[in-house]
């Protein structure tokens, strides 16, 4: 009992600290005091949060092991970039079209592949991610390996933040709804879920395409942030990076994905001082975290704003419930 109380208090303080950090970052940003280098990193943090949370919806919450997330990101990036360049549509509309294209592809790919399980699904999605990349590499309109340039650089940090918040809110609300319980039950035991009258095919494809939608959004934000994209941005390693964030944060924990996306985006930058040892240290840290926290930084726990409020209500001494 004492232990759970302590854990709750810890969570409450962590939430409070996270909230303060977030507010401080925004104050510095709004005041225009953030160096471009740092705000650039923060943009990538936001994009990675969107990617990690949306992959968590597929891998962590629904339990479908997907390795093709970079493919969906690529579709969102290229479609929205082409829409911006050739049609001159406003950014929001271009992002939406890109995300929709990714979601549609998610349905098309999900229907045949999601009858596979575990390792087989992982290999199939890995293949499909690569197919998307190779198709982009060979199309004329995408300019192949030369990459697509002169994309309007209209993304700003606030838009990235907004989309990240929408992604998180969508996923958290979904998780707490009846549909979310259906997704969780598929992760737990697919046979039982089917026996309970849950249309497992529908829910798996739904999770897959919703994840693809947000990955497409992230891709669009990425394209309009860089101004230049190439197939090499969306290689297999990109999918792995996102997967590492999800697993490190804790499969099924949205908070975990956010924290891990934050840490793993900033870490390689923070380690620049170590020059050639940078990636060695990065990998060693990953191994160390997985050894000491095998179920991820957060396990399946979530931080909740309400938990932070309990600090003020009870002075942090008593369990508020």
């Amino acid at each position: 009992m004492k232990n759970t109380t302590n854990k709750k208090n810890l969570d409450a303080y962590l939430t409070l600290i996270a909230g303060i950090v977030l507010v401080l970052l925004n104050v510095v940003l709004l005041a225009g005091k953030m160096p471009a280098y740092y705000s650039g990193i923060l943009r990538f943090v936001g994009i990675n949060i969107i990617l990690a949370v949306s992959l968590n919806l597929i891998n962590g919450i629904t339990g479908q092991f997907s390795l093709g997330h970079a493919g969906f990101m690529a579709v969102g990036a290229y479609v929205s970039a082409l829409v911006s360049i050739h049609l001159g549509w406003p950014l929001i509309l271009a992002l939406f079209v890109g995300a929709l294209a990714a979601a549609l592809l998610g349905v098309l790919i999900g229907l045949p592949t999601l009858r596979l399980k575990g390792d087989y699904l992982a290999i199939a999605t890995l293949g499909l991610g690569e197919i998307i990349r190779v198709v982009i590499l060979n199309l004329d309109i995408t300019k192949g390996a030369r990459g697509l340039g002169s994309i309007p650089r209209t993304t700003n940090i606030y838009l990235v933040e907004l989309v990240a918040v929408i992604t998180i809110l969508f996923t958290v609300n979904l998780m707490r709804s009846t549909h979310g319980r259906a997704l969780l039950s598929i992760r737990e035991d697919e046979i039982a879920a089917e026996a309970m009258g849950i249309n497992t095919t529908f829910y798996k494809v739904f999770a897959f395409s919703a994840g693809a939608f947000f990955a497409g959004l992230a891709g669009g934000l990425f394209a309009h942030s860089m101004g230049y994209i190439a197939p090499s941005n969306f290689e297999f390693m990109r999918s792995i990076e996102i997967l590492v964030m999800v697993v490190l944060g804790g499969l099924g924990s949205i908070t975990g994905s956010v924290v891990a996306a934050f840490v793993l985006t900033i870490l390689p930058e923070a380690l620049r001082g170590f020059a050639q040892f940078r990636m060695v240290l990065y990998s060693a840290l990953l191994i160390a975290i997985m050894l000491f926290r095998p179920s991820g930084l957060m396990g399946t726990r979530e931080l909740d704003v309400r938990s932070a409020l309990t600090i003020f209500k009870s002075g942090g001494e008593k369990d508020a419930e």
Binding site: R181, S185, A195, M196, N199
Partner: protein, 234 residues
């Protein structure tokens, strides 16, 4: 309530059911008994929509359901308790029960059925906030049955409810099966433990290598010389 005619089912090249026919009337407990690999579970999975028959006909409440999906049948009151329990191990007992009522919208009916489940299985009420994976085997079987009851079944398909349970618990589970039947739920029971299955069922079918080998009321099956030798230990 359920009529099956000349059912043929294949697993790839393997001909698993070779013309099974059976019938379940409203209010009955009917049992399928037989050895390992006889086709009992295959029959049940085909009825509940997890497998599709190549030939033959399944009629449930006057409607042909050969190609219906499992989740569509659950909404029509045909609910299966899968072999090996399959509880959602990481979820609490209460969450498991809630998922049992997944396709239903009638809040009052769900609350009433939950009361009914807690009356049948008082132990589930005691442990409603406990994680299902930490329950004993018998309690998990109770949870699997309670969860199926939350769906408001008209026809309940039970697959090997005695599997891996101590004899005392088996007797308890089977007395509850009789209780469930008394509340108006028709039951089709697949069981290896032919003794206890025949003691609760009104009628039975003996399945052997994908065919119905013998059928009849429980007492005549239980006293039949061949059945006694093969399944009841002399």
């Amino acid at each position: 309530m359920l009529q099956i005619k000349n059912l043929h089912v294949y697993y790839g090249q393997i001909h698993a059911l070779k013309g099974v026919s059976l019938e379940v009337k409203p209010g009955e407990i009917v049992t399928l008994i037989g050895g390992n690999g006889a086709g009992k579970t295959t029959t049940l999975k085909t009825i509940s929509g997890l497998l599709t028959p190549k030939e033959g006909e399944i009629v449930y409440q006057g409607e042909k359901i050969n190609n219906a999906k499992a989740h569509e049948l659950v909404a029509k009151g045909l609910i299966q308790v899968p072999e090996g329990r399959h509880v959602f191990a990481q979820m609490s007992v209460q969450e498991n029960l809630d998922l049992g009522a997944f396709p239903r919208k009638d809040k009052q009916g769900i609350a009433r059925d939950q009361e009914k489940v807690f009356e049948l299985f008082p132990r589930l009420k005691e442990r409603r906030s406990q994680t299902a994976g930490t329950l004993s085997g018998g309690e998990q079987q109770m949870l699997a049955m309670g969860r199926a009851l939350m769906g408001g079944p008209k026809l309940l398909l039970l697959d090997e409810p005695s599997m891996g349970l101590a004899p005392l618990l088996v007797r308890e589970i089977f007395s509850i099966i009789t209780e469930i039947n008394k509340t108006g739920v028709t039951i089709l029971l697949v069981e290896q433990n032919a003794n206890i299955a025949l003691s609760v069922a009104q009628r039975g079918y003996v399945v052997e290598t994908g065919k119905v080998f013998m059928e009849g009321d429980s007492t005549s099956l239980a006293t039949n010389e061949e059945v006694r030798k093969a399944y009841l230990g002399g």
